[in-house]
């Protein structure tokens, strides 16, 4: 493996990080909207959410990636592969993030809202100062878990031609046939990102715990 190959792999890693950095905020924002469906007063909206959840649970990410790839191409919509990739990941992982948020919401007793309101706290303050901190402490471990899944999921985008770490590895392997060296480096790079994300999550939990928001594992 030449030095150029190594540089290429590091650049591909940045591309993977770029995908993750684009996906996670988009997916989280989408998830917040989806949660509104999940906790809606209307049965039809709740069922829509349940249907989406069921669909995503049974559909491989790769299949969704291909579908969106062909749908965009078939309708003559030319977007850069990176944008298509982020779109795929954001759609797929938004429902997983929504499940995390919903699970955390369910763990917050209704009385928390009621007591905050009865103490005269405005609705907005109840949300931002009572519900959100509790949501954070409940949901953070699972949230980080889904983030790591999203980073690993970005590798699937290589099959629709998004240039990231897995794609670049395969490119180099097909050129120089040094399978073990190239994939070991790729594995180490993936490990560093995912393990790093996991550690950051633990660190954030520890910080929250110090401020009194103990995470329950």
């Amino acid at each position: 493996m030449t030095q150029n190959d190594l540089i290429m792999l590091v650049r591909a890693t940045l591309s993977t990080l770029y995908l993750a950095a684009g996906t996670i905020p988009c997916a989280t924002a989408l998830a917040a909207l989806l949660v509104l469906l999940a906790i809606s007063r209307h049965r039809a909206l709740r069922w829509t959410y349940a249907g989406l959840r069921w669909l995503v649970r049974g559909t491989p990410l790769a299949l969704l990636a291909l579908l969106i790839y062909y749908a965009l191409a078939g309708n003559g919509i030319a977007v850069p592969p990176v944008v298509a990739g982020i779109l795929v990941l954001a759609i797929y992982f938004s429902i997983l993030f929504a499940e995390v948020i919903r699970g955390a919401l369910l763990a917050i007793p209704r009385t928390a809202t009621d007591s905050a309101l009865s103490l005269g706290l405005p609705r907005m303050a109840t949300l931002t100062r009572v519900i959100l901190p509790m949501l954070l402490r409940q949901g953070l471990p699972a949230y980080i878990n889904v983030c790591v899944m999203a980073i690993k999921g970005s590798s699937v985008l290589s099959i629709i031609g998004v240039w990231e770490l897995t794609y670049a590895s395969r490119e180099i392997i097909e050129r120089n046939l040094e399978v073990f060296q190239v994939l070991s480096v790729a594995a180490v790079l993936y490990f560093l990102i995912c393990f790093g994300a996991d550690r950051c999550g633990r660190w954030a939990e520890a910080r929250l715990a110090r401020r009194g928001y103990q995470t329950q594992r």
């Binding site: 049974g58 559909t59 291909l66 290589s158 099959i159 897995t166 046939l177």
Partner: protein
């Protein structure tokens, strides 16, 4: 009627997906249980090694071991069919998750049970087989069911190493015929059927172990 013929043409691919998924699920349970059993050894070194294995496989995408086996094994003289390579890679990764699930289920079992079982003369193997596993199964089954669903979805990645399973088939049909949506609808439906079957199997298993 052409649509119906299209659905039928997925039969072979679906069979491939089912065989790969079932094999990978069964072998990964065995491999995961083996890994978990190793961590129960009194020497700390064993659980450290398994712990490292689990951390590595949890933090790399399954495509990496997949390419490692598929492109790497021929270089050391092992020329296996692509589907076998795929199953091996899936099992290596899935085993790590299974052993983690079993480990967290085992936490719920009081240690004193082991001492009690040992003191009435059970061998370490008998303790594992007759005291630990039946109880662990009860706690772990729902999580194992979810993990198996994830495994089935991961079988779609075998299309990257040219195994003609459901997703590869969908791709071939799209590129061959130009109809975009229908092949994907069929493929999605087939995966949903498979996932439903797994949910049913685990629900039945769950009912069986509950009475013990």
């Amino acid at each position: 009627m052409a649509d119906f013929a299209l659905v039928l043409s997925f039969a072979d691919a679906f069979r491939t997906t089912v065989i790969i998924g079932a094999c990978a699920a069964i072998f990964s349970m065995l491999w995961g249980t083996t890994l978990f059993a190793i961590t129960l050894a009194p020497q700390r070194i064993f659980s450290l090694v398994v712990g490292a294995y689990v951390q590595v496989f949890r933090n790399i995408p399954v495509l990496v071991p997949l390419y490692l086996v598929y492109f790497g094994f021929p270089m050391i003289g092992l020329v296996w069919p692509a589907a076998v390579c795929g199953i091996l890679a899936l099992v290596l990764q899935q085993g790590a998750y299974v052993s983690e699930i079993l480990r967290s289920a085992a936490k719920a079992i009081d240690r004193s049970q082991q001492d009690a079982a040992r003191s009435i003369g059970l061998s370490p193997w008998a303790v594992f087989r007759h005291v630990y596993l039946p109880q662990i199964a009860v706690y772990a089954l729902p999580a194992l069911g979810n993990q198996s669903v994830l495994l089935v979805k991961d079988t779609s990645l075998l299309s990257a190493i040219a195994v003609v399973e459901v997703m590869m088939k969908a791709r071939l049909v799209v590129e061959g015929s130009g109809t975009v949506y229908l092949p994907f609808v069929i493929a999605t439906a087939l995966y949903l059927v498979f996932v439903l079957a797994i949910d049913i199997v685990f629900a039945l298993l769950g009912r069986r172990v509950r009475w013990k």
